[in-house]
Amino acid sequence: MSARVEALVVTQKPETPLRRLASEFFASRVATGAFAALLAIVLMALFAPWLAPQNPYDLATVTVMDARLAPGERGSAGFLMGLGADGAGRDMWSAILYGLRISLGVGIASGVVALAIGTAVGLAAAYRGGWLDALIMRIVDLQLSFPAILVALILVAILGRGADKVMIALILVQWAYYARTVRGSALVERRKEYIEAAQCLALPRARIVLRHLLPNCLAPMIVVGTLQTAHAISLEATLSFLGVGLPLTEPSLGLLIANGFEYMLSGRYWISFYPGIALLATIMSINLVGDRLRDVLNPRLER
């Protein structure tokens, strides 16, 4: 009902789809809050070397004398350890900031690569159809029928430890979601009249796929992208928690949580708790942003 009414409102200035999207998105207070939180987290992670009082991976600055200091106490170097110190004497706040860097970096990077691969594969399947489509979709189905964590564990077991191996595992687990989403979207768009018009105008096929088809398949991909990034971050955290993720030299939030686990019962909650909060906040804000994007990018708004 409201959509029909909105169709009558013809705006006057050139309004890019992006601007329209942004104004719709920020109409929700929750989404705006989540977006602000996410932005803050990303900026904190980005500027970690400047925000953190200590580099937790520089062994020269870390001393075991500070081990297990409670939140609020001062360390040997003189600065306030607002969130306490972990078992090795690292300031928790610094460790979390650096850990966020790793977690976000790995999550986003693997997401971007998986998106690129998944999009290419999904578009090819949708445009060519036939046996190629069937083959690709069977592979995707196979991939998606295994739990992600299981696949990741197997891959890491085969490939070994290391940041790059974990990245490969995350990419291999995620590309299938993108491929399936893009293919579905492309199949719908392919039938639309503006694609027929492009064919009538004898535009080269590559141009039709990249310039006409792809931009209109972006909407569901953005939603999948945000939600998948959250998934990748949580997956990496799980792998690290289980001890098969990133190496000790680059502790992500998962590893921090794992390290602090043994101290939970003895009352030194802060070693696991605060990295856990940081992880939760990150994933929740990404999910809230993704949810709002999904509502806003609903096809009814195309009218």
């Binding site: 013809v10 705006t11 050139p14 309004e15 890019t16 789809p17 329209r20 639309k192 009249e193 503006y194 027929e196 018009a197 492009a198 064919q199 009538c200 105008l201 004898a202 535009l203 080269p204 141009r207 310039r211 006409h212 931009p215 209109n216 195309e302 009218r303």
Partner: protein
């Protein structure tokens, strides 16, 4: 008399739903299973002369849209020939105007790009001249050229229809296939767009194949009218003859039932029966189950298109003897 611009000879389009593995196996084992075939267009021949407007009329399932898409080169025919000025391929000379003003424009492209992309890609116009060229086209179609940088969603239905026309004109076509181009528009906007079509015809010497289910519009615009039913041409004649002295029972029924502004509170006298599904068209003459004058012969033998008067073709057994 002008030479034919487009000639269509015995054109067929069959949509076949292939049998899956289970069905193929069943057939191998002797079961009576065959593929589902839709004869969307069934041996249609027609010719359009230069400068003419030919109206193609019919209801759902008659194949007029499929025929239009084949003529425009979007859909490959299953069999039959389409010739443009005697040659096999028309290239950019044949363009199509689509029905849905919302779906026929790429929502993520600015209007300037929508109209300007093809002429740039095909080298019809150079990059420096593109802005002026696009502006001129938009003005010719009744749009303000300063709106070039806007996106389709910022325009009304009628304006989008004009953008679609400008896009087609950008590649300098000679022949336009209009597939229900005004069906989705309000009456007052429809009048504007129809006037635009007539103006363009006069100014640019265009030829049209005007596909529509709206007989009033077709009568106003067309020189000749072709009536289709379930994939076949049933009648074809000059506009005056079709609307003044229709020969085929289907055309007669169609004309009787079109609501007109002048007829008031008269009882509607519809034809009985549903339009058959194209998957299972009646044998013989496709129209015989609904025809008030059907004979035994109509059930078995498909009638051929015969000339019943100069330039007037009709496919009905009633015309024989």
């Amino acid at each position: 008399m002008n030479p034919p611009l487009i000639e269509v000879e015995r054109l067929c389009k069959r949509f076949v739903k292939p049998l899956d593995l289970a069905a193929r196996l069943a057939r191998r084992l002797g079961a009576d299973v065959s593929e589902e075939v839709v004869h969307a267009v069934d041996e249609v021949s027609l010719a359009v002369r230069e400068g003419e407007v030919v109206g193609l009329v019919g209801e759902s399932g008659c194949g007029k849209s499929t025929l239009g898409r084949m003529v425009a080169g979007i859909l490959p025919p299953t069999s039959g020939v389409i010739r443009y000025r005697g040659r096999e391929s028309a290239g950019l000379k044949v363009q199509m105007i689509f029905q849905d003003p919302f779906a026929s424009l790429n929502p993520r492209m600015r209007v300037a790009d929508i109209v300007g992309e093809a002429p740039l890609v095909h080298g019809i116009v150079r990059k420096e001249q593109l802005d002026g060229y696009v502006g001129e086209l938009l003005a010719r179609c009744g749009l303000d050229p300063s709106y070039q940088r806007r996106f389709p969603h910022q325009f009304s239905g009628g304006q989008r229809a004009r953008i679609g026309i400008a896009r087609a004109l950008a590649v300098k076509p000679e022949f336009l296939v209009c597939d229900e181009a005004v069906a989705a528009l309000d009456v007052s906007i429809q009048a504007q767009i129809l006037n635009l079509f007539m103006e363009l015809r006069r100014a640019l010497g265009l030829t049209y194949l005007f596909i529509s289910h709206d007989l009033g519009v077709v009568e106003h615009l067309s020189d000749r009218v072709v009536i289709m039913y379930l994939g076949r041409v049933v009648e074809s004649a000059d506009s005056e003859r079709i609307f003044g002295a229709p020969n085929h029972p289907y055309t007669q029924a169609l004309l009787r039932q079109v609501p007109r502004l002048e007829t008031r509170k008269t009882a509607f006298q519809p034809i009985v029966g549903e339009i058959p599904s194209p998957l299972a068209p009646p044998a013989g003459c496709h129209f015989h189950p609904r025809c008030p004058q059907a004979m035994a012969r109509c059930r078995s033998e498909p009638p051929r298109l015969r000339e019943v008067a100069p330039g007037h073709l009709s496919a009905c057994h009633l015309n024989d003897g």
